[in-house]
Symmetry: C2
Subunit: 632 residues, 2 copies
């Protein structure tokens, strides 16, 4: 299957704008803090066998190593490099002679290994370590961790597979599918791709009873005692090609789909891509929070059903948004269809980067669409959405290193290429070195995207002659204009791209203007929790109203078609962001003294409102927040 | 303190209308079913010492006995009477020589008695038994159960109190306060009133550390391990006179407040009534669901905070609504202010009688304001509001006998009297025998209330000469008219009553007309889950739209000021109820194919809707339901 490839992080340098700010904070603040917190929890030294180790700890450290790799690729950092090398040394010492590697199970009887794929997270941790090993290898050229993970992958490949002597299991928490494909891409060892394919194909096939039932009985447990009750939770209820609805635990689901897209891309298996497209349709037409969030409910950290999109209770785990970026990116690369990049951006600029605060020190696990003010000290009831605050770390701290590795790899989302076509994916101020037909091409991109829709591209080197520049026109954009060297270019938009084929000369300048009015976005009327309400969006960024700017009363704000917004810089404590200002109608609360319900229409009065980008909420005094506002 | 008294169930006979239907079903269907289910669970025979007994079982049987008493008062039923007598015989045999009576603790070591007031429910069960004993005595004249409960009350009075040798505790689940006052009213034994007063006064006083902390440590437990975490849960966080917000477990809270009102009424303690009024203000201005429901959250079966009024997740336990009727009734009797009757009706005609289905066979524990359609078999997530159905019984089955005893005592809510003033409270087709100044008075009331606002009152006997008829004008009503013998009467409305003083003659006829247009009710804009939406009400009855009448799409219905409703009989399978019919605007779902969000205003189309009384929802095919609808 012909497919696009992304221009990797090693070939793109971010040179300004939001991404540079996020990446700098990530590198300078978040990475050292995560190192310190992993040391404090014991996660960092768990490979040494001292202290305890939890079943998912290896994965957290793996994601931090992966983030470190991307950081080092752009900014040499001997201290960070030495920290990672130390972990790799510990990891090597922990690895078994047969290749097995897991700091938790290293402390347990050998018989427990692979005995509980459903809950044990061994394959999940292995996958994250593989991703980290490949990134570390690409960033530093050092092979040690890659070799460790190849040995582990060999062991897993020996253990799992279709042969009678092999285990016919698959992960209860998907991720290894992605890791194995990464390892295959880095090493060319086709066995790794085949093993990823095996895990995808075997999942939920249930030839002679469900695999997780078998292994539960082998442990002496009743399969019916499964904590999460149904195999929808881990997407093993059906063979993957028969799955049509996004169900269960959101991160598990999206890592699986990303793995399916990976396997499809490398094997040419159209049936897998077809399954992915069906699942994509279900997600984006029925189950995607406006911030690009997946998994509406805390109970299963996942899906409840079609059109279940709660605002205050919305879970929208940071990890699930990161996973959606991964899946969307793979879907785009497989199809060249920019619809996938629209969703990638929706998640990236909203749910994903909401996961870390402006200072880079505190994190969100869930990302609700509304928060309510504190409840008079009655803390018996305290669930997501209530007194919601960012915190320094979590008991299960998957999200902080996940957002760190995503931000660090942002350069990889700027461009993609298929043959002699170079596509812009997510606009950002950056310089890129490309190779077209084996010849060097260099591009600069100057923009303040996502705050401003003007994108200024220059060809700074072109040894490749004629090639096509495909400019992404986001789905939210109406009236985009393009000039080439000052002359209007009329390029038909196909699959979300305006394509300009040209014998590019050094100095050629392309200016793209994407108008960015404030958009009032309606949700599907079946989304009962937000039906009839409006969200404010500008470009790819979703906005919200916070108590600290607006007072506690956000539920009486009414947005109408005639509401005029002014876009102004600030608040300054949140960095260089624009906020939206307007005067709106609001129900007059002073008329409600002494009553909770009334028959008569409610008098309205004017009030000012300020909306800030959603991803910057929860950085100031805790309080109420709303994305969806009343229709006026 | 001068106060009104209600005209008891023994003096009022329901002769038609909704109440007669509900009482007949309750007597003929619900009572035998509850007897059978209590027999099947072992609750009915738990006094015999066979099988197990749960800590709250005695209370369920007590409420069934109380309901049986009211049923027998209106309709002789030797079989039911024999069933109750058998239970009383078992109860007598179970009672300890010292008067102690509890089927659960009878099976446990003696040392466990009164060792865990916080969680053990002994005083709660005792209170319900006292209420039942008094009702049974009034209905049948039989003293046996009353004597049993007096002995038990004597034992409790000996055990608890201010003396050094006594236990300074109070119930973790309130109810005994009400029971003791009932016992005092029936027997005149003032010690019972003083003990109720002690429990009220001692609660949350925390002179030398919290009582529940003391008893936890005495059991060898850490008080911090308390499952419900804070003493707001059982309203022992502060002395009752310092409590201003309705917090914690709703049923506990409302039974306490009813007990406070009882003690205030009999002792003249104005400070208790003042505390009740503050709590009432907090409840009705900030925390009361439109159906008259209290306790928005399942987590604590109680309160979350001001303006927390979720629709789909709303808990609104049937027992809490029943308890609100009790409290509201006492507040009215203490103040003669009809505002309390407005809330009593709001709860009675909506949340309370929603607790039992039309057939009388199945029950609701929680009563949400919205239900969502089933979720594609993904039953990992399944919480109240989802696939919501009535069921035959509950593991903790407090609600079914509570609604049974409430329906059976409905006649007691028709009239109240203070001196020579007779007040109508809840209108119903009934005959009443009263005594004014020691002289007989008889009234008939003919009405189809709450379906029709015409109330036809006739004086059928009057030996008492001049007295005042106080006709309640509900707060929801505008433009009430009154005629006396066909002539318009102009009576000023004070505290919710139009008062007519007259030397009544036999045959005098008063016709009250309460206009009942469909009202579109707005919630306070701070009630964020329902802000900007509308509920349909007619008279005291809240309406809802169900999937079975309207299809699954209820979230796109828009109600506007110009919407015209027709009131028609039916659906026939729900009894003689009127439903509301209208043609409304609705977002056109056909324009949403393939999208979940959109920037452009949504085209509207006309659609018909049908709304039925809320209390009759969930009687047909399970599916979506909404009380609050979009504003058009």
């Amino acid at each position: 299957m012909a497919r696009s490839t992304h221009i990797p992080f090693t070939q793109v340098t971010i040179t300004g704008g939001l991404w540079q700010q996020l990446m700098t904070t990530n590198r300078q603040v978040t990475m050292p803090i995560q190192h310190q917190r992993c040391r404090e929890t014991g996660q960092l030294t768990a490979w040494r066998g001292t202290g305890d180790s939890h079943i998912f700890w290896d994965s957290d450290v793996a994601k931090w190593i992966e983030a470190a790799a991307y950081c080092i690729a752009s900014h040499s950092d001997p201290k960070l490099e030495a920290q990672v090398d130390q972990v790799i040394t510990d990891m090597a010492a922990c690895q078994d002679d047969d290749g097995y590697l897991n700091s938790h199970f290293a402390r347990r009887p050998r018989s427990e290994r692979w005995s509980n794929l459903r809950d044990g997270h061994e394959l999940y941790c292995a996958g994250h370590l593989m991703e980290a090993a490949v990134a570390w290898y690409h960033a530093t050229g050092k092979r040690e961790m890659l070799d460790i993970l190849c040995r582990y992958a060999d062991h897993i490949d020996h253990t799992f597979g279709p042969k009678r002597t092999q285990c016919h299991g698959y992960p209860g928490h998907q991720e290894i599918e992605i890791g194995l494909v990464r390892l295959y891409e880095a090493t060319g060892t086709e066995r790794y791709l085949r093993l990823a394919q095996y895990f995808v194909d075997e999942r939920g096939r249930d030839r002679r009873g469900h695999y997780f039932d078998h292994e539960a009985r082998a442990r002496g447990e009743n399969p019916a005692d499964y904590h999460h009750k149904t195999y929808e939770y881990n997407q093993s209820h059906l063979p993957v090609r028969e799955q049509t609805d996004v169900v269960g635990h959101a991160v598990r689901a999206l890592y699986l789909y990303a793995g399916m897209a990976d396997v499809a891309a490398h094997t040419g298996d159209a049936s897998l891509l077809t399954a992915c497209k069906k699942l994509w349709g279900n997600l984006t037409e029925r189950r995607l929070a406006i911030i690009g969030g997946v998994g509406s409910r805390a109970l299963n950290e996942g899906m409840a059903g079609d059109y279940d999109l709660p605002d205050a209770g919305g879970y929208n785990e940071t990890c699930a948004a990161v996973a959606l970026v991964f899946w969307a990116h793979r879907m785009f690369l497989a199809t060249d269809d920019a619809q996938y990049l629209d969703v990638l951006e929706q998640s990236l600029f909203n749910n994903c980067i909401s996961g870390v605060d402006h200072s880079g020190e505190q994190f969100f696990y869930g990302n609700p669409l509304a928060a309510e003010p504190g409840f008079d000290g009655n803390d018996v009831y305290n669930s997501p959405g209530h007194n919601y605050r960012r915190v320094p770390w979590f008991g299960c701290s998957c999200c902080p290193p996940n957002i760190a590795r995503l931000i660090a790899q942002m350069p990889g989302y700027c461009y993609a290429q298929r043959g002699r076509t170079v596509s812009t994916c997510v606009y950002a101020d950056c310089d890129a070195q490309l190779t077209i037909g084996g010849k060097a091409v260099a591009l600069t991109q100057r923009t303040d995207y996502p705050w401003d829709g003007r994108v200024d591209l220059r060809v700074t080197d072109n040894q490749a002659g004629t090639w096509t520049l495909a400019l992404r026109i986001p789905a939210w954009c109406q009236g985009a204009t393009i000039t080439v060297n000052g002359t209007a270019a009329s390029a038909a938009i196909t699959r979300g791209f305006a394509r300009i084929k040209r014998d590019w000369q050094v100095g050629d300048r392309v200016v793209l203007k994407l108008p960015m009015p404030v958009r009032q976005v309606h949700a599907h009327p079946r989304a009962r929790q937000i039906a009839g309400q409006l969200a404010l969006c500008r470009g790819p960024v979703v906005y919200c109203c916070e108590e600290t700017d607006n007072g506690r009363d956000l539920s009486n704000i009414r947005i109408s078609a005639t509401t005029r917004f002014r876009c102004k810089p600030g608040p300054s404590e949140l960095g260089a962001i624009p906020s939206l200002h307007a005067t709106v109608q609001a129900e007059d609360l002073s008329t409600w003294r002494g009553s909770l319900y009334r028959d008569t229409p409610v008098p309205l009065r004017k009030r000012p409102i300020v909306a800030i980008p959603y991803f910057r909420w929860g950085n100031r005094a805790p309080g109420a927040m709303r994305v969806f506002l009343q229709r006026g």
